[in-house]
């Protein structure tokens, strides 16, 4: 019998189904993670030979991004391959762990390339190696994230394959603190959905209108989302930036955390701010990506912004906002983020007011930045700055 088994059909089914599930939910699935299955009777020897803990039913090796599972254990497949494997591919913390491991591997190869060595030699080398020290500290700081995420992945996929009883039995031994930690994440996922749990765990956010709508429905409820007049996706849309959203809604609450930033304007307030050309509103109207709501209403607002007269009231309103933001910013200590942000908003409102005074309709932040650059150019040309 071959010592390294080929993947049994069952594992293939689990892999195919789970890969499709992840691709659909996230827009990605494990790509770089390798999977190795070791027969039960060889497990102990394998663990001893590779200095791994033989009490475990699965192991993930960050340095070669390999998930090694005992036999064809489905829960271990979920934990090691889809849990640790995906985390190390699609989260910044996981990627750093892999980078540090790979760097250490290179140092070790350099050291031991021409000689045989024992584990004692390796340990001795690692103790004086800076990368190893950094890795040790980094791992310690983030161990909770790795493990909670992998256990929650087991919980998630065990439901898909009706293996929830096996999951409960496996983690029956958990100590109180660990049980509470796992439960809190499970409760989070039950309250806010799977996508929110992945994003809160730090996984890459590949936003599409459909995915964002699903996320909002899970977090705020289908009714609140469907009753909202307009929800737009703004911001950089980078996988590790927060998801910037804008809503004209009487049913949603504003939210801001490390992965979601939802600005909400009540319908009446939104109308008023549109009439006054406020950048906070004009930018999403003109540059935002439609998520849900009334598409015709969005189109109407775009036309309104292009055609409505620029009034003295609008210019004054933006000037006042600029002054107000400046005063608020100055209430915060120098060098603080709040002060910087407040002053930046103050400047944006001022630029908008000046542009409106010149009869210019600059709706997006990018337009306002290029406008201010051209203003500076005119100033320089005119010799005002000597």
């Amino acid at each position: 019998m071959m010592p390294c088994q080929k993947q049994a059909p069952k594992i293939k089914h689990l892999l195919d189904f789970s890969n499709a599930f992840y691709q659909d939910l996230h827009g990605y699935k494990p790509e770089q993670t390798k999977l190795q299955s070791i027969p039960e009777k060889h497990w102990k020897t394998f663990c001893q030979r590779t200095d791994l803990n033989s009490n475990s039913s699965g192991i993930y090796l960050p340095r070669n991004q390999t998930a090694i599972i005992q036999n064809r254990n489905p829960l271990s497949l979920f934990h090691e391959y889809f849990g640790h494997g995906l985390f190390c591919e699609q989260s910044l913390i996981g990627r750093k762990l892999v980078d540090l491991e790979k760097k250490l591997l290179e140092d070790e190869k350099q050291e031991f390339q021409n000689r045989k060595f024992s584990l004692k030699d390796l340990e001795k080398f690692r103790e004086q190696n800076k990368t190893f020290q950094e890795l040790k500290e980094f791992r310690k700081q983030n161990l909770a994230r790795y493990e909670i995420f992998a256990i929650w992945t087991e919980y998630l996929l065990s439901k898909e394959f009706s293996l929830r009883d096996e999951f409960e039995m496996k983690y029956d031994f958990l100590e109180k603190e660990n049980r509470e930690a796992v439960d809190s994440v499970i409760n989070f996922s039950e309250s806010y959905g799977d996508l929110a749990t992945f994003y809160a765990s730090g996984l890459a956010r590949r936003t599409t209108p459909e995915r964002v709508k699903k996320l909002l429905e899970d977090v705020y409820g289908i009714e609140a989302v469907n009753n909202s007049k307009l929800i737009l996706l703004t911001g950089s849309k980078k996988p590790f930036s927060d998801i910037d959203l804008f809503a004209c809604s009487d049913y949603l609450q504003p939210t801001k955390n490390s992965w979601l930033d939802l600005a909400v304007f009540r319908e009446e307030n939104f109308e008023e701010r549109t009439r006054l050309f406020e950048t906070q509103v004009t930018h999403p109207i003109m540059a935002g990506e439609f998520i849900t709501g009334n598409k015709n209403y969005l189109q109407q607002k775009r036309i309104q912004l292009q055609e409505q007269p620029i009034t003295k009231e609008a210019i004054k309103y933006n000037l006042n906002l600029s002054e107000e933001q400046k005063q608020r910013a100055l209430e915060y200590p120098e060098q603080s983020e709040e002060r910087k942000t407040g002053l930046s908003y103050s400047e944006t409102y001022l630029k908008n007011a000046l542009a409106l005074k010149q009869g210019l309709r600059l709706f997006t932040k990018e337009d306002l930045i290029s406008y201010s650059q051209s203003e500076r150019f005119i100033e320089l040309k005119g010799g005002k700055i000597e």
Partner: protein, 132 residues
Amino acid sequence: MRQELEKSLYDAKPIRRDLIVYQVGDLENLSASALYTGNLPKFSAGGAGFELPKPLGSISRFESKPIEISVPKVGMTLEGGLNIKKIGHNSLTLNTDYGLLRDLYNFHPDGSGSKREITLKKPTILIDKKSW
């Protein structure tokens, strides 16, 4: 050749950890931070930095201000559950309500003060008085 190597790897009889000799190719499997399913260390979700979506109090993101200190008013509940019962010309009386039992605190600008415990079952009976 690969099969032979794998066979020797998996079929090897248990030997003492310190007697195993490795070659450079083995380093691939000697990860310094292998993650195990079993043998979990103690951890907490708090340590993992899990965040719940928290609604903000104000509509605009840009309108948050530093915490303001309000002027004390009768009926206001302070941090720790103390309630302002009376504001005198030169003193402040605070009240902790335990249901049938209350603590009354009096503070004076000169630093002195007193604490009285009052039970509502026996109105106005002073059980204890401490001055400082």
